[in-house]
């Protein structure tokens, strides 16, 4: 008989991220399918509000490791806390959201406890008491179904791939799991977070729309001139008006790094594709992109896709986008910004 543990960690403000509710929902559904027990394990500086937030999830147990040492993400103390929760529950299946904090600590936990681990999971099924998952291989270029016999098995879910469970507000006190974090696990010192200056954020993971800017923005235009400043202002104006997030092709990001003319606000954080991110947004608009397979991987998880560029055979668009507008992106974005301004 399987026993399921869902892991989650509160954010700095004590709240749980959406991905935590996705994991709780997936764990509860799997528990129902298998007739398995369900526990929820929390770790952080203060787990009280999180325990209450998941109190209506139907878990038999809610366990927590609360310590000031867990106030910020650090692999070593996090791994100690997670391992303690896992041992305390004796869970055979562990479900965790694929947050950076989990992904940093869980591989070490798996190796420490002799557990198996799979990440980026986008589907879980239970048939005849057997659990199967689906996850990507080769940078999302193929996907596979697999199951495992070894336990514990840690299943790390791809954020956005599962529906978050909606839970009524409740109140619960978690069982405290005693943990001593050794000195050797306290070496890393948290210095802080670095975020883009206020108002200059161009990465918005929760945005409905992703604008992908390609290297065409920095090429000579029909007047024979490079219009870098115009491109910057059009893109930033669009991002502000459409409340969109920005992605970029590798070639454009590399131009900036190599010291060639590029959009000043672009960093490698914006890169999507084979060596970049594969963000999940409801809609994507690709502009001036001319990549092939490795780059189109970057918008695999974008549901509705449109593209604007001058090449009707563009690899970003043909067969990948729902609509391709063969047009000058400078003109279109300028007009689009004007339309968005009036509404």
């Amino acid at each position: 008989m399987e026993s399921i543990l869902v892991l989650a960690h509160p954010e700095a403000d004590g709240s749980l991220q959406r991905s935590a509710f996705e994991a709780v929902g997936a764990g509860a559904a799997l528990s129902k399918s298998l007739g398995a027990s369900l526990a929820i394990g929390l770790f952080g500086a203060d787990t009280g509000p999180s325990a209450s937030a998941v109190s209506a999830a139907g878990a038999e147990r809610i366990l927590a490791v609360a310590s000031p040492e867990l106030a910020v993400p650090r692999a070593a103390p996090d791994a100690v806390a997670i391992a303690a929760i896992l041992k305390a529950t004796g869970a055979t299946l562990v479900i965790a959201p694929g947050t950076s904090r989990m992904l940093r600590a869980l591989p070490a936990v798996a190796a420490r406890l002799g557990a198996r681990i799979d990440t980026k999971i986008f589907a879980i099924a239970a048939e005849g008491g057997k659990v199967g998952i689906q996850r990507p291989f080769y940078r999302q270029r193929m996907s596979a179904e697999l199951s495992r016999t070894a336990r514990p098995w840690i299943l790390v879910l791809d954020p956005g791939a599962f529906a978050p469970v909606s839970l009524a507000a409740g109140s619960a006190k978690a069982e405290s799991v005693p943990v001593e974090i050794p000195d050797a696990c306290r070496r890393t010192r948290h210095e802080g977070y670095e975020a883009p200056p206020a108002g200059a954020e161009t990465l918005r993971p929760d945005a409905e729309l992703l604008l992908v800017a390609g290297a065409g923005w920095t090429k000579k235009q029909s007047n024979g001139q490079v219009r870098l400043k115009d491109a910057e202002s059009l893109i930033l104006d669009f991002l502000a008006k459409a409340k969109a997030s920005l992605g970029s092709s590798k070639s454009l990001v590399d131009q900036g790094v190599d010291g060639h003319g590029a959009l000043s606000f672009l960093t490698h954080l914006h890169q999507v594709g084979q060596t970049g991110a594969t963000p999940r947004h409801a809609k994507g608009l690709a502009t001036c992109c001319h990549g092939e397979e490795p780059h189109t991987v970057g918008w695999r998880f974008i549901r509705e896709r449109r593209a604007v560029n001058l090449d009707a055979n563009c690899g970003w668009a043909q067969g990948k986008a729902d609509v391709l507008y063969v047009a000058d992106a400078f003109e279109v974005l300028g007009k689009l910004n004007a339309v968005l301004k009036t509404t």
């Binding site: 990440t119 291989f137 070496r187 010192r189 802080g192 670095e194 060596t275 007009k335 689009l336």
Partner: protein
């Protein structure tokens, strides 16, 4: 730091991303790629970045040394090294075994961990274990963390873009976290595991001189490479498929930009077709 770092980079070969991939049934129930042995290979992109960053850090901190530990079919590793060797000075550590994406992460970590632990003269108190934040094969992002755990390294960093060696011997590390932010941490001293993202530096140019200097050690390492028996662990694979990416693209030509803008605005607002 007076003594410098011993930086071990874990990275192996993956199919060139420009090659189309097609899954086929492999031996022992482990999926494989069609014509896998014939596919041109490159050094795993994120691991390659970590190798270049290791070389930069080693250059900045005197007394440092870089090792590249790779698990893959010996013949393909030799082919790969013809290009990789020209990028950065390193000592090669080869393990002969399968490099495919469907082979087990824990078994791969065990083989690489043993090989790294057996590097002659490796000072674990100066060890920085580098690699990519996920491979372009297995694509799980777990192997490096497991190797670190096997080597007894609790301090691990994921999706690293920047490492600075500070004058007091500490390291300032910036990791990517949610929301386009960096988590900034100070590590007092090695050992540590650093799984790299894209970094902030361009790929170094080829240097035939560095290539020549590396090649002798590489050939010797390939000759001495131990074989590792690696399978799929306890995983039983079902259907493996290339996701259907083909869409019916409606191509709009010869349309005024005003009309396109209006259509796009409607679509963005959820009113378009």
């Amino acid at each position: 730091m007076a003594a410098g770092f011993h930086i071990v980079v874990c990275g192996s070969l993956v199919p060139d991303p420009l090659q189309p991939l097609e899954p086929v049934a492999g031996s022992g129930g482990i999926p494989a790629l069609k014509n896998e042995s014939m596919l041109p290979s490159i050094l795993d992109p994120w691991a390659a970045i970590s190798l270049y960053e290791a070389a930069r850090l080693a250059k900045a901190v005197p007394g440092s040394k870089v090792f590249l530990a790779s698990l893959g079919p010996k013949a393909k590793l030799q082919q790969l090294m013809m290009t990789v060797a020209q990028k950065a000075p390193f000592e090669f550590v080869a393990v002969d075994g399968p490099a495919g994406g469907f082979f087990d992460a824990a078994e791969t970590a065990a083989a690489l961990g043993d090989a790294i632990g057996a590097i002659p003269g490796l000072d674990r108190s100066r060890l920085l274990l580098f690699g990519g934040c996920a491979s372009a094969g297995r694509d799980a992002g777990v192997t490096l963390g497991m190797i670190g755990e096997r080597l007894g390294i609790p301090d691990q960093f994921l999706a690293v873009d920047v490492v600075e060696a500070l004058p007091d011997g500490t390291l300032r590390i910036r990791e990517r976290v949610e929301g386009g932010r960096y988590l900034v941490s100070i590590l007092p001293a090695p050992p540590a595991v650093l799984a790299w993202s894209t970094g902030r530096n361009p790929e170094p140019p080829n240097s035939p001189q560095i290539g020549m200097a590396n090649m002798r050690g590489i050939l010797s390492a390939l000759q001495k490479a131990k074989s590792a028996k690696i399978g799929a662990g306890d995983a039983a694979f079902g259907k493996v498929e290339v996701p259907s990416l083909r869409r019916q693209t409606r191509i709009v030509r010869n349309t005024p930009s005003d009309t396109i803008a209006k259509e796009l605005a409607d679509w963005i607002r959820g009113e378009g077709k």
